[in-house]
Subunit: 408 residues, 2 copies
């Protein structure tokens, strides 16, 4: 990890979880496969923190030094834990393999430490409390580096043990994630004001990923009902401030989910066409699996290729495509901007042509000016296209209501 | 960063660059917006390293503490640098904005430090050497956290200053990146043997991203010619061991670039069809921009939708699509596996049907067994499809050569 061969995503994941549990994260440290450096880093950490969550170094090879470092720091010898050894042997037996001798080390723990059970892999974790001074103890939780194993072990074992440490007043934690699109992070922060202050109860965290803004409400209270009440109050206050930008809730809920929901509610469907350098929309909707809301995605260099395939004049291509596919709506991103392969600077905002063809065959063009960093500009354009489509879908309802009102 | 609100990618990038320059990276440290903790982390770093590269904390707000921490650690007051102030004022003037008072801090440097010029942003970097003891000095390079600014400043200013520190024998650094597909990392390492030993000259680093393996040769020598000779020798040795898996070179060269090259060389072209949950192939080829090698990408839930759109029987859909589009080759991923939205464990290997339709209309089916982590399985499948296609393209040449030999 120190050499940069791999990207560390564990530190971020663990930090978020700890902050949600009410534990402030003050430091991250990364160290290479060097025992003395490993021990030094742990000693420094023990002096400045009450809890240290570690990942990696629990494998069976000589490069894996976490057990030895904990043992050396604490002065407690590594002892074989029979129960862990049996579990290890069973894991190998299930894969019809003989357990190599070197894996024995994975069943060894510093005396006085607890095991952190690993249901998925061969590396159990270590839970060791070190008395640093008369007034200060530090508890180490050592987990494997494999993210899937680490995450499950954190949620199943480390989090409950931490809650127990923190005491009985905050036994329950509930989360609620709200999603927004259509404004930058700083404007959002301004509109939210004190809602996102660090000392607010419940805590509201803001994160941005490719122009989607997430507000994560974390409620900690003696019981689940109190958590839910906190969340509901915060949710209402947030909606009163930025409800116009809200499109749904849930950790991985995105604008295309909101479009799918809008369409299914109305018994309608969509196809998408993307010209140029990306197939983001097609990829997003494909990820939904088979759904009545989506009839397919098309990616061409330009409209001529689409017309050639359909064997119709270019001017008719959108209408023919929509009709043949049987979809209610057609959404077209007419061009994604060219990016230099080594582009690293934000692109100046430039107009991007977005076309919606509605169920009556009317074309509604929008040309929002969109800029941003190369790594996110395509998804920002695609999201702007979805926002344009949603406005038309909702406008359709309004027109419908108006025409019904006129008739009645 | 400590709270997990953002993912740290700078540490990895800087570590790779440092290792390439011959500097071993021993530790990463991350600290929050707390001055005393900041100073403590810098003090620890100064004691254990000769060079510390820092990012972030150079903005104009009260949360930005890097300058103050360096000043406090070194005991050197922050002084205004007139030249930097003028540059700052010019940056604001160019954007037709008045420079706020608080930005003045960005032109202040600890006495005795050097500026690291920032051509893109308002935050110049700081280059400060601290005498830790009679025998040990530590040099700090503080850079802004914005990746694009940081990267350019590292390459333009920090790297040359580091090379100068290291001494005259290694003034030149050259890189060569070779790309491979078709085998796992551990098999690759086994076949490479001592080629990837850390003390080898030139150094060969191995990284894996979504099943593409990169070998990065870093040659350091007194002159560029010597670098090139080192690289050529290493390249030949690598090709003799794993040349069968090689598909091209360059940092961002991927299998779809190799397919584009194969097709353009032969005056041929491709369309792709993806059924199910992803549009990876369409997105990759779209990213190439307008190219004679690619006629478009289609994403449907299943073959029936494709047939309906073309208004032909399902059995004929592939042939009609290929002919109407005018493409030589059609590549179909018949299904991407379903992933649970919260899937975190590797999927068991399962057969995935891949179809190539060749320029004569023959269908060549392959059903490789593919598994892997949810985050990479779709791109692994798409890459396997491209590998299947490339085999057929190259087989086409062989058949052509054989038939020409038979005629002559």
């Amino acid at each position: 990890m120190t050499s940069g061969a791999r990207l560390d995503t564990n530190s971020q994941w663990i930090s978020r979880r700890l902050e949600e549990l009410g534990v402030t994260v003050a430091f991250h440290s990364t160290v290479g496969d060097h025992l003395q450096q490993h021990v030094d880093v742990l000693r420094i950490a023990a002096q400045r923190a009450d809890v240290v969550v570690m990942t990696g170094g629990l494998g069976p090879t000589r490069d894996d030094l976490t057990r030895q470092a904990l043992s050396q720091l604490s002065g407690r010898a590594l002892k074989m834990r029979q129960q862990s050894l049996v579990h290890l042997e069973q894991m190998f037996a299930r894969r019809n393999r003989q357990m190599p001798e070197r894996n024995h080390i994975q069943a060894m723990f510093p005396e006085g430490s607890l095991e952190i059970f690993n249901p998925q892999g061969t590396a159990p974790g270590v839970d060791l409390t070190l008395r640093v001074s008369d007034r200060h103890k530090c508890r180490f939780f050592a987990l494997p580096g494999v993210p899937a194993e680490m995450r499950r072990m954190f949620d199943e074992t480390v989090a409950p043990r931490l809650l127990e440490m923190i005491g009985s007043s905050r036994q329950h934690i509930e989360h609620h994630v709200m999603k927004f699109f259509g404004v930058g992070e700083s404007d959002m922060e301004q509109r939210l004001g004190t809602m996102i202050a660090r000392d607010r109860v419940p805590r509201v965290g803001i994160t941005v990923s490719s122009a989607t803004i997430s507000l994560r409400i974390t409620a900690a209270a003696p019981d689940p009902q109190a958590c839910q009440r906190q969340i509901e109050t915060a949710r209402q206050e947030i909606m009163s401030r930025v409800g116009d930008l809200y499109f749904g809730h849930g950790e991985s809920y995105e604008l295309y989910h909101a479009v799918q929901r809008d369409l299914l509610m109305r018994g309608q469907s969509l196809i998408t066409v993307e010209f140029g350098r990306s197939a983001v929309l097609a990829d997003w909707f494909a990820s939904l699996g088979k759904t009545d809301a989506y009839h397919g995605g098309f990616c061409f260099a330009g409209p001529e290729e689409l017309a050639a395939l359909l064997d119709v004049p270019t001017a008719d291509a959108y209408d023919v495509l929509r009709k043949r596919s049987g979809a209610s709506w057609l959404l077209v991103v007419q061009s994604y901007p060219h990016l230099d392969s080594d582009a690293s600077q934000a692109l100046e905002a430039q107009p991007v042509d977005l076309v919606v063809v509605d169920p009556e065959g009317r074309r509604i063009l929008a040309s929002p000016r969109i800029g941003g960093h190369p790594s996110i500009i395509y998804s920002r354009i695609a999201k702007s296209a979805l926002a344009h489509l949603r406005k038309q879908i909702q406008r359709g309802d309004q027109l419908q209501a108006e025409s019904e009102a006129a008739i009645s």
